[in-house]
């Protein structure tokens, strides 16, 4: 990530008057302006259909905004192409709401993908995969085809893939939807660990158990608009 502006040293995500509408005329997001600092953990909440997933998709350039400015680490992400975009995406880990796992590959292979694309050494990849599976209580699923895993297990594999490459920005979409309380705790522990290591984390969720006691900022979306932003002490 190149540092084009001085503020990019402290700011990870800059969104100014961003809106997104899907054809024909579904307005998924409108007039979103928010700044998320490097190293911040940020909760994005709202009812289903509020636009959480859309916002995350804009941040990793899976979708392009209809209007407004989006910068990630100082780069206008929706304008990047080719190798520049690829390099950028290597530094952004995303746990998709619909997982996007390769269901004919093992859990280990799925997790390894995000590291393989940045040419990590095989030994390092192997070690990291074992380590992550352990942290997410999936050690016995190392060689299981992900198509045969339960939803909750698939969800954790997705998360492991998102954080495996130690990205600077981690986007997590409904990470705990299919999990029981204990596993949810493990997942949050892993995310907190990544956050302590310096990663900026944006979590989209409607599971209030993971944000009700948080000291981090929580932004609520309603019908694609910012309803409230609460908590956190911004410097």
């Amino acid at each position: 990530m190149t540092m084009q502006h001085p503020e990019s040293e402290t700011v990870m995500i800059e969104m100014i008057k961003v809106s997104k509408s899907y054809p024909p005329d579904v307005s998924a997001l409108s007039d979103i302006s928010v700044t998320i600092d490097r190293g911040e953990m940020f909760f994005l909440i709202g009812m289903s259909g509020a636009g959480k997933t859309t916002l995350l998709k804009l941040l990793c350039s899976m979708e392009t905004p209809s209007n407004g400015l989006i910068e990630v680490a100082g780069n206008p992400i929706h304008k990047l192409k080719g190798t520049t975009l690829a390099r950028m995406r290597q530094r952004i880990g995303v746990a998709y709401q619909d997982f996007k796992l390769l269901t004919d590959r093992t859990a280990a292979e799925n997790i390894a993908i995000s590291m393989e694309v940045s040419y990590k050494k095989p030994q390092i990849i192997r070690k990291r995969v074992v380590d992550l599976l352990e942290q997410l209580d999936l050690s016995d699923k190392h060689n299981t085809i992900t198509g045969e895993l339960s939803r909750g297990e698939q969800q954790r594999v997705t998360l492991a893939r998102a954080v495996a490459n130690s990205p600077a920005l981690i986007l997590v979409d409904e990470p705990t939807g299919n999990l029981d309380a204990t596993t949810t705790e493990r997942v949050m522990k892993l995310l907190n660990k990544c956050n302590s290591a310096g990663a900026t984390i944006v979590i989209a969720t409607h599971d209030d158990s993971i944000y009700k006691d948080t000291t981090h900022r929580v932004m609520e979306l309603r019908k694609g608009r910012i309803h409230t932003v609460s908590g956190g002490i911004r410097t």
Partner: protein, 295 residues
């Protein structure tokens, strides 16, 4: 190092997933190479034979009267006007007589009654030993016959002419089969790669999302095309060689064909064919890949 490791893993995976269509492509590539190389081989051998025939091929232009030095120059100019030639000899009446005597040897007394200048003077024209020069021999002789002062033009047998028109036909066949080779290899390879891409759409989409560069996605497919080209053309050439060897064995006894010695391609030609096939296959897979990457 890690890069190539990943690339080879991907190639292995592709081959395992789509080996039936990969095999089809391989066979198509080798068959096209076989067809092309076969005609090309026949063609080069025909050229060799033509070369040998051409060694004795000359046009003899009989003249009404013996040309003086000035006239000789004029004729020489007229002849080279039509085409460049290997050599031009002027044969005077006396030289013709001497040659004839030599040919008759012991029977030379039959000429005793004849005057020394009873044979006409002539010009011997040795055409260039290129295919073009030789194949135009009929036109050339017609042209020479129309020069002022010529009685008639003589040249090698009818079949020489037929031989050269056959070689010309063959060169067209070589050209056509060359085009066939180009089309089939590029399209077949592009097609298989597209099949592979479609079969792995989900994975390739994901690779893009997790930040795989175009090179990361593309290289395994290019390598696959390269392998197709290399194996396919080698296989095609190898089977042609076996075929060639077999045919040579069949005709190795006494017979017309044993007059000429048939040769296989030199190394360089084989390598060129393989190299071009590799190039074509890689281009085929590259175009497929570009279509996908642009989406």
């Amino acid at each position: 190092m890690n890069f190539w490791l990943t690339v080879f893993r991907q190639v292995g995976r592709n081959l395992r997933q789509t080996w039936p269509s990969q095999l089809m492509t391989l066979l198509t590539v080798s068959l096209s190479v076989l067809i092309f190389a076969f005609f090309y081989l026949v063609y080069t051998n025909m050229l060799n034979i033509g070369d040998k025939l051409g060694d004795d091929l000359r046009l003899i232009v009989y003249l009404e009267e013996q040309p003086g030095p000035e006239m000789q120059e004029q004729l020489r100019r007229k002849i080279t006007n039509f085409d460049e030639v290997e050599e031009i000899h002027f044969i005077s009446k006396e030289e013709a007589y001497d040659r004839f005597i030599k040919q008759l040897a012991q029977n030379k007394d039959v000429l005793d009654e004849m005057p020394r200048d009873f044979l006409p003077a002539s010009i011997e024209v040795v055409p260039l030993k290129t295919l073009r020069g030789l194949s135009q021999i009929k036109l050339f002789s017609d042209y020479l016959a129309k020069l002022p002062g010529t009685i008639k033009v003589q040249y090698g047998q009818e079949w020489v002419e037929r031989f050269y028109s056959f070689t010309r036909l063959l060169s067209i066949v070589v050209l056509l089969s060359g085009n066939l080779l180009i089309l089939t290899t590029v399209f077949m390879v592009a097609y298989t790669i597209r099949l592979t891409i479609m079969g792995r759409q989900a994975e390739l989409e994901l690779l893009k999302l997790v930040g795989a560069t175009n090179n990361y996605i593309r290289t395994p497919f290019l390598l696959e095309g390269l392998l197709q080209g290399m194996l396919g053309s080698t296989l095609g050439l190898l089977s042609l060689y076996l075929l060639f060897d077999w045919i040579k064995m069949q005709f190795s006894g006494p017979g017309l064909l044993s007059l000429f010695d048939f040769t296989f391609f030199p190394y360089t030609a084989s390598l060129t064919i393989i190299g071009v096939s590799i190039l074509l296959c890689t281009v085929g897979s590259y175009t497929s890949m570009q279509k996908f990457l642009r989406i």
